[in-house]
């Protein structure tokens, strides 16, 4: 008992005040990019050639953040002249086409039909399925349950049964071997439901794009409502996106189907 108390005293209060107060991430963290459209074409071409994810389209001067793994190759090669990754972690998408960006990233409040906030504003229960994820996205989703992030203070919880869930949070490139299990889980969730894809793999196949053992596009299997880029996204990016669903963050509520 004494040990419990002394440990409790030593650990103190750890829960962050986000989103009321923002959090400063280290300088090397690569978050929301700033793109210079007037950059020398030679530099853009060089970045496009060397991008391991082939995420840069040199003709349109865009980068596909669904494909990007935020390795920083383009920033390094262009010495920040073409792309600079800021330490702003607040970005997520509601449409796959918006992932291909020339620098402008729409707010999360696109395509409002029925605000999800109305349905899930005070309670959002999610079922997580890893479909070939390398466990980085899974770990950085799971970490939201630790005292620092304390996800449950927003009324968001991860549940064991899809029957108890309001939505599905998917990580991984959707391997062929998980396709059926994923679809069955999706079917088992009562409507209305939302689908959240987390990480470069779920958005585009990520590092594994082109492998015959993964499904080409999650969007072919189900309608995805929220896309969180990153490899893996920082837990705060995932938290920001989830708060977007319930309208509790600094962003506007998004729509569900």
């Amino acid at each position: 008992m004494i040990k419990c108390l002394s440990n409790r005293w030593e650990q103190g209060h750890r829960t962050s005040t986000y989103p009321k107060e923002t959090i400063l991430l280290p300088e090397r963290y690569r978050g929301k990019p700033v793109i210079n459209n007037n950059c020398d074409q030679k530099i853009i071409d060089q970045c496009a050639r060397n991008c391991p994810q082939e995420a840069i389209d040199p003709d349109h001067c865009t980068i596909d953040l669904g494909r990007c793994v935020f390795c920083g190759t383009c920033e390094r090669l262009s010495q920040g002249q073409f792309i600079q990754f800021t330490n702003d972690f607040e970005f997520a998408f509601t449409q796959k086409k918006d992932c291909i960006t020339n620098g402008s990233i729409p707010d999360l409040n696109q395509h409002v039909n029925v605000p999800a906030q109305k349905l899930f504003g005070k309670s959002l229960q999610l079922r997580q399925v890893s479909a070939g994820g390398c466990n980085a996205c899974e770990a950085d989703t799971n970490v939201l349950n630790t005292p620092f992030f304390d996800l449950s203070r927003f009324g968001i919880q991860f549940v064991a049964s899809p029957r108890h869930a309001d939505g599905l949070l998917i990580t991984g490139p959707v391997t062929r071997n998980m396709r059926t299990a994923l679809l069955q889980t999706y079917e088992a969730i009562p409507s209305p439901k939302i689908v959240i894809a987390v990480g470069s793999c779920a958005l585009s196949g990520g590092p594994f794009r082109g492998s015959p053992d993964i499904c080409d596009d999650l969007n072919d299997l189900m309608k995805v409502d929220l896309l969180v880029p990153g490899c893996p996204p920082h837990p705060l990016t995932i938290l920001y996106a989830l708060l977007g669903v319930i309208g509790g963050g600094s962003s506007q509520p998004i729509v569900i189907h």
Binding site: K3, C4, S6, N7, R8, E10, Q11, R14, L25, P26, R28, Y29, R30, P52, Q53, V69, F70, C71, G72, R76, F85, Q128, V129, S130, G132, G133, C134, N135, A136, E138, A139, T141, N142, V143, N145, T146, P147, F148, F158, A160, G172, P173, T175, R176, N177, M178, R179, T180, A181, G206, P207, F208, G210, S211, P212, D213, I214, C231, P232, P235
Partner: protein, 497 residues
């Protein structure tokens, strides 16, 4: 006979023509007679299908042979071949005749597009249509769990045969995470390799990246400088601490002691944040590249790391005192999930699980590379082989790793090298081993006569240890499964590739 093999060193390239090619019968006999363990055993396609084996005792050895389409299974004589032979059968349709449990490992079409050894139809994308080991009797019942589990965890299928609460047999069937990593690594441009390697298993990003970087450097005749080696060692030990601390927290959670679980959950994050500080990514993605690091550890970062380690060390010790001396915790940890040393040796178990059963094998001690050659690493072993032993090995290794980091951070780190373009030597072979937090991780690259990758083989420590978990469950209560599983904490994606 050791003289039949070529003695090799960890991370040192050899020419493929120097690898002894034995007649097949002699190959089988020699590998069965060898007193030691298997590091790698796989098939590859050259002009025809060949086998290659890397074995270890106090040294590393390699040998190869041509392989017929069918042969008498080696598993009949030694169970450590069990999973390797199933993998070879699945990848190259080479049938080990009379294999006691021949079924697919990951469920995919073989690389040769040959008729399948298992009779699977891969148009059907439901794995698991094969038979499971079953026990019959009036009071026997089966429990099937997964692939989708209750928590935020990777998929896998567990099939228990129980009598009442008691587990008679557990069979673990994986493959749901199979992304086709090995063939992908052979066919993509070299610029994609580090990214794919980092995605093999996120929690083992640093160890996998170091295995790849060392292999690539060896094949490209690059030697990295001392300070680059030191920074890699620091990253590797941070990864180990973060994962071990996370596992101890998870074990605490599984015996419903939530306080240490919450504390360790948070402290794990503090170590991941150290990697974030160094690399911009919480798992260290982007940090390790062949040839060196893009951004060295700055003086400010070094001071922050020293300060944080100083703050965290007493907290880690105090929480461990709370957890590992608590009578309620001990009553759950002790004697649960027992694996005898003999079983562990027969299965070739490695890493934390192996050391907890008394096998003093640690790659950092036995086959050190990089800066580990300059360090004295004393493998942390326990003798009881239970959940407590696996927890305590983890805790003792955390303290050991903290000490390593503290020592290495004393000097400023000024690497002279940065990542380089790599070009592989033709017709070469290299194997690298590193002690990842789960145990012996190994990458192996064979190049063709043009210097292209002919075969890339990855072996996660979990490849040896999943069978150990099956054995740990025999005779246990089924309710202790989560605890046993957590005490092993094996990789799904690292196994499934």
């Amino acid at each position: 006979m050791e003289s039949d093999f070529l003695k090799i060193s960890n991370g040192v390239m050899v020419r493929r023509k120097d690898i002894p090619q034995l007649p097949f019968d002699r190959f089988c006999q020699t590998v069965l007679d060898f007193k030691g363990q298997i590091v790698q055993f796989f098939a590859y396609m050259d002009s025809h299908c060949k086998l290659l084996i890397v074995l270890r005792n106090k040294n590393l050895f390699v040998a190869g042979c041509d392989v017929p389409e069918k042969y008498k299974a080696l598993t009949l004589k030694s169970e450590k071949f069990h999973m390797f032979e199933r993998e070879i059968a699945e990848q190259y349709a080479i049938e080990p005749v009379d294999h006691p449990w021949l079924k697919s490992v990951r469920y995919h079409q073989n690389y040769q597009q040959k008729p399948d050894c298992f009779g699977n139809d891969y148009q059907d994308d439901i794995p698991g249509v094969y038979p499971y080991y079953a026990i019959q009797g009036e009071e026997i019942h089966e429990v099937g769990v997964g692939p989708v589990h209750a928590g935020i965890i990777e998929p896998g299928h567990f099939r228990f045969n129980c009598i009442g609460e008691k587990v008679l047999h557990l069979e673990i069937q994986l493959g749901y995470q199979h992304r086709g990593v090995e063939p992908l690594l052979c066919k993509v441009p070299l610029k994609r390799l580090p990214i794919i390697v980092e995605g093999i298993a996120g929690d083992t990003t640093i160890a996998n990246s170091i295995c790849y970087a060392q292999a690539a450097e060896s094949l490209s005749a690059i030697t990295v400088d001392r300070d680059t080696q030191i920074s890699r060692t620091i990253a590797m030990e941070i990864e180990r601490i973060a994962n071990h601390i996370g596992d101890l927290g998870a074990l605490s959670n599984d015996v419903a002691f939530l306080m240490p679980s919450a504390f360790y959950g948070r402290i794990r994050g503090d170590f991941l944040n150290m990697l974030l500080l160094l690399s911009g990514n919480r798992f260290g993605k982007g940090l390790i590249r062949p040839g060196g690091m893009y951004e060295p550890i700055t003086e400010d970062q070094r001071q922050i790391l020293i300060k944080n380690v100083n703050i965290l060390r007493p907290q880690i010790e105090h929480v461990a005192d709370l957890l590992l001396n608590h009578p309620g915790v001990l009553s759950r940890f002790e004697s649960t999930g027992y694996v005898a040393k003999e079983t562990a040796e027969n299965l070739g178990m490695v890493g934390v699980a192996g050391r907890a059963s008394g096998i003093p094998y640690d790659v950092r001690h036995h086959f050190p590379t990089g800066f580990y050659q300059k360090l004295t690493i004393d493998p942390k072993i326990e003798s009881t082989g239970d959940v407590f032993a696996r927890a305590n090995v983890r805790y003792r290794e955390v303290l050991q790793s903290l000490k390593i980091i503290e020592t290495l951070l004393q000097q400023p780190n000024r690497p002279k090298m940065s990542p380089r373009t790599i070009q592989f030597q033709p017709s070469a072979f290299v194997v690298t081993l590193n002690e990842a937090f789960r145990g012996e991780l190994s990458h192996c690259i064979l190049t063709d006569h043009k210097g292209h990758i002919l075969r890339y083989k990855v072996k996660d420590p979990s490849f040896h240890n999943w069978t150990g978990l099956e054995m740990a469950l025999r005779g246990q209560e089924i309710s202790d499964f989560p605890l046993c599983n957590k005490s092993f904490n094996l990789s799904y994606c690292g196994f499934d590739l």
